[in-house]
């Protein structure tokens, strides 16, 4: 007989996801002000396709559907992808959301064991079809995301080591001419909501710091050495690449500790 914990000292998974969505509200408001009701439609469709894909995956794996769906992982992924991708191409958005969740989350065995973050994967997938146009900096959106991230940090929900590593590297690399990255909303979105996810990053603080720094270096080298115009897609690619090293970083940085 398992005893229920009497006192919760930290929010549950569902409440965590809700608060992460709440932290995205300022950014959604800014985009709504810029794009109009089209954004709401995109959000709705992406959410529906994400829920469908998640439910389908769970049904195929013969798992209970509702207890997992109500944790809100799928909704969070859908909202993040909506904010990252252009809302003009709705079918692309829906397809990428569903495919990412089905392939990168459900195929790997659920939210706990998805080594590659579905948002980064979806972004990379969409990058294949996106027009190669230089995106412009969206300062209000960036500021709104920054505010949301700081709120998460204050609530103790943001595992800050990986984002800090990334931002540090970008700041150090300013002389190379990568300063424009800081104005990109995709960078802050990926740093605050994707890199802080535990299942695709190392679990130790040191491992996360290394992960963030390596992701920053890889992204800056890709941006400066190639002519890839989109910071979001490049960063997503480097995140996915480095997620593969997470087990190794875990092995290197995790130890049982000193025996007492």
């Amino acid at each position: 007989m398992m005893s229920t914990p009497l006192i919760r000292l930290a929010p549950t998974l569902a409440s965590r996801n809700r608060q992460q969505l709440l932290a995205l509200l300022p950014a959604i408001a800014i985009l709504f002000w810029q794009l109009g009701p089209q954004l709401l439609l995109a959000l709705l469709l992406a959410t529906v396709s994400a829920l469908l894909a998640d439910g389908l995956g769970l049904a195929l794996r013969r798992q209970a559907i509702w207890p997992v769906l109500r944790q809100g992982d799928a909704v969070l992924s859908a909202v993040l992808l909506t904010l990252l991708l252009p809302t003009a191409t709705l079918p692309l958005l829906c397809m990428c959301t569903g495919a990412a969740i089905l392939l990168l989350r459900q195929l790997f065995g659920g939210s706990g064991s998805s080594l590659f973050h579905p948002v980064a994967g979806g972004l990379l997938l969409a990058g294949l079809w996106l027009p190669a146009s230089l995106p412009h900096a969206n300062l209000p959106l960036t500021l709104a995301l920054l505010a949301g991230g700081l709120w998460l940090l204050w609530r103790g929900l943001l595992r800050w080591q990986a984002p800090l590593g990334l931002v540090l590297v970008v700041l150090i690399a300013l002389p190379v001419g990568s300063g424009w990255l800081l104005g990109q909303s995709a960078l802050w979105l990926l740093a605050g909501w994707v890199m802080s996810d535990g299942s695709s990053t190392p679990i130790t603080p040191r491992g996360r710091l290394i992960y963030g720094q390596a992701a920053g270096m890889l992204c800056i080298s890709l941006v400066t050495l190639t002519t890839s115009p989109d910071a979001g897609v490049t960063l997503a690619a480097s995140l996915l690449l480095l997620s593969a090293t997470a087990p190794l970083l875990d092995k290197l940085t995790l130890s049982p500790g000193r025996r007492t």
Binding site: T4, P5, L6, L9, T12, L13, T260
Partner: protein, 607 residues
């Protein structure tokens, strides 16, 4: 993440009430053997069960009544396992045996105190309040901590005890200080227990102990962190931590002669009036909850504090000496644990710096060796990891179960070792008996042959009587050697009956399990030494005097037997090896066999 701010603030202290006499008491006989019978009427304070091992404590009747049942009963432990128990039906008269207060307590030695506390049923964290092995061996402790810290949510029993019985606690501490003679005696208490601190400050000024106010967050009140924070480096190896409730009970037992039959339990949660209840040991959980006013709807009953508590499936279970707290929770839907999302919060909050997520993985996969590698043994089972896990994984329950499995495996291993030892000894004994019998037969045949030869050679000669005399002398010497040997062994086989050594003998018997390994090693070494000595002696004798006859061989053999018996007896009597009787017997027998074998070999070589 700061733990301090997130733990719920301590509620204001609840009043203390006394539980009305329950209709039935379900007592737990923890490491004790029952000395009453079903149907027998017992009086309050009457001894019901006596401690039968080092870790048990006696059980006394909390009130007068009839014994209804003796046997396995579910106990207030995780998963409510069946343990030896006793059902007592009170008759409501509460007729008590007269209490005999001992006035000679200042003369008690630490060991005598520990044994008396065990006989009075005063328990500490594990087993009797003062561990017997510790009390038998130890020099005066450098630091004695009385632990009154309660920083787990909902716990109030110790604070209530301090508030209500500050003077009695002070007396008990003075008593412990007088007998145990610690260099420093400290009462540890937490910042939040304000009323209790005020009650103690005035007392502490005039006493020989200090008051230490702890400010660190949970689980700083556990024994290990408390020792770490309070002990100076030079004291850390020789300090002891005692729970407050046990110290108070020890004071009652030694100063007033009253065995431990009740304790204070905090009843809280979804009850109408949370309160601290003074309840007899064995009172059913349902009675305590009813006393605090439990609403009619279904509730989950939790035994223990807010973080360590575990669910009880049955409210008929009686409380025991470790029942600090009972909580009633509005029944929740069974929570569905989500997979681990590797947030790492459990590792960052763990006070023992473990990696609970790795530990959980290995424990849930039943890989106990891996779990030990990830320091399952260092888990203090504080429950913080379960409380922060966003996936609501049952970390604490899993660690508890795994620890219990490990403990069980260890016990089985030691039982198997003991059985193997017994079996080896039996085989050895059978073999030895066979050899001795054969030798006796051979000796008799030789004697008869000699007698026959003597009779046949009727003519008296000067050499023959000498041979007969030598033969007789050899037989006398062998008999004397055997007698001496028996005398050497007797003090070991018969326990010393003198009253002055009674305590030591009791402790020695109880310590048998501890010392068995040492004694075994010592006995083995003695046997090896004897065998080596015999092996070294025989060839030397053979080479020095090739013409030794049978009688001289017998003399040498007797002398060797005597020497080896003395040697073994000396080894067995040394203070390092206190478990003597059986081991000494084994060693002596083995030595004897080795000597005999050596002598026989020598004899064969001679022929």
């Amino acid at each position: 993440m700061s733990r301090q701010t997130r733990l719920p603030a301590a509620a204001s202290s609840h009043p203390l009430t006394t539980l009305p006499l329950p209709a039935q008491l379900n007592l737990w006989l923890q490491g004790s053997r029952c000395c009453v019978e079903v149907g027998q009427r017992v009086l309050k304070h009457q001894l019901l069960a006596q401690a039968d091992n080092e870790f048990g404590a006696a059980v006394h009747a909390p009130t007068s009544g009839h014994i209804r049942a003796i046997g396995p009963l579910p106990q207030a432990l995780p998963d409510a396992p069946l343990r030896d128990g006793l059902q007592l039906q009170p008759d409501g008269q509460d007729e008590a045996l007269p209490l005999q207060a001992n006035t000679d307590w200042p003369a008690l030695s630490p060991l005598a105190l520990a044994i008396r506390l065990q006989d009075m049923g005063v328990m500490g964290q594990h087993g009797p309040l003062l561990p017997l092995a510790w009390a038998a061996a130890a020099p005066p402790p450098a630091l004695l901590i009385i632990n009154a810290v309660e920083n787990e949510p909902f716990l109030q029993a110790d604070s209530t005890l301090l508030r209500e019985q500050a003077a009695a606690v002070a007396d008990a501490m003075a008593m412990l200080g007088r007998i145990l003679q610690p260099a420093r005696l400290v009462l540890a208490i937490q910042q939040e227990q304000g009323a209790a601190i005020n009650a103690l400050r005035s007392l502490a000024a005039s006493q020989s102990w200090q008051l230490e106010v702890i400010q660190a967050p949970y689980p700083a009140g556990d024994d290990a962190p408390l020792l770490q924070s309070l002990a100076r480096p030079e004291e850390s190896s020789n300090s002891l931590c005692l729970p407050l409730a046990g110290v108070y009970a020890a004071g009652r037992a030694i100063l007033h002669g009253e065995p431990c039959i009740s304790r204070i339990v905090t009843v809280s949660g979804a009850v109408k009036q949370p309160q601290n209840i003074l309840a007899l040991l064995g009172s059913p959980v349902a009675d305590l909850l009813a006393c605090a006013g439990l609403p009619p709807q279904r509730h989950a009953i939790v035994h223990g504090g807010g973080l360590r508590g575990f669910a009880l499936p049955d409210t008929a279970i009686g409380i025991h000496q470790h029942s600090h707290c009972l909580l009633a929770l509005a029944d929740q839907a069974e929570l569905i644990a989500q997979p681990c999302v590797r947030c790492g919060d459990c590792a960052s909050i763990c006070p023992s710096q473990l990696q609970p997520q790795e530990l959980y993985w290995h424990c849930s996969q039943q890989q106990l060796e891996q779990a030990q590698h990830w320091r399952l043994a260092d888990c203090s089972q504080c429950g913080l990891c379960s409380a922060v896990c966003p996936s609501q994984l049952p970390l604490l329950d899993t660690f508890r179960q795994a620890s219990q499995q490990l403990l069980l495996a260890e016990q089985q291993q030691s039982a198997a070792d003991a059985a193997r030892q017994r079996h080896r000894f039996r085989q050895f004994r059978l073999e030895r008996d066979k050899q001795e019998k054969a030798q006796r037969l051979a000796e008799r045949a030789a004697q008869q042959a000699a007698k026959l030869a003597q009779q046949q050679a009727a003519a008296p000669s000067s050499t023959e009587p000498a041979a007969v005399v030598a033969d007789k002398q050899a037989a006398i010497a062998a008999a004397m050697a055997r007698a001496a040997e028996r005398q050497q062994q007797r003090p070991d086989t018969a326990p010393s009956a003198s009253t002055s050594e009674r305590d030591a003998a009791i402790a020695a018997n109880r310590q048998a399990t501890i010392d068995a390994a040492m004694a075994r090693a010592a006995a083995r070494k003695a046997a090896q030494d004897a065998a080596k000595a015999a092996a070294a002696d025989s060839p030397a004798n053979n080479s020095a005097a090739p013409g030794l006859n049978q009688q001289q061989q017998a003399l040498i053999q007797a002398a060797m037997q005597r020497a080896s018996a003395q040697k073994t007896a000396a080894t067995a009597n040394s203070p390092a090896a206190m478990d003597e009787d059986k081991k000494a017997l084994i060693a002596a027998a083995m030595a004897r066999a080795a000597a005999q074998k050596a002598a026989r070999d020598a004899g064969e070589q001679e022929k």
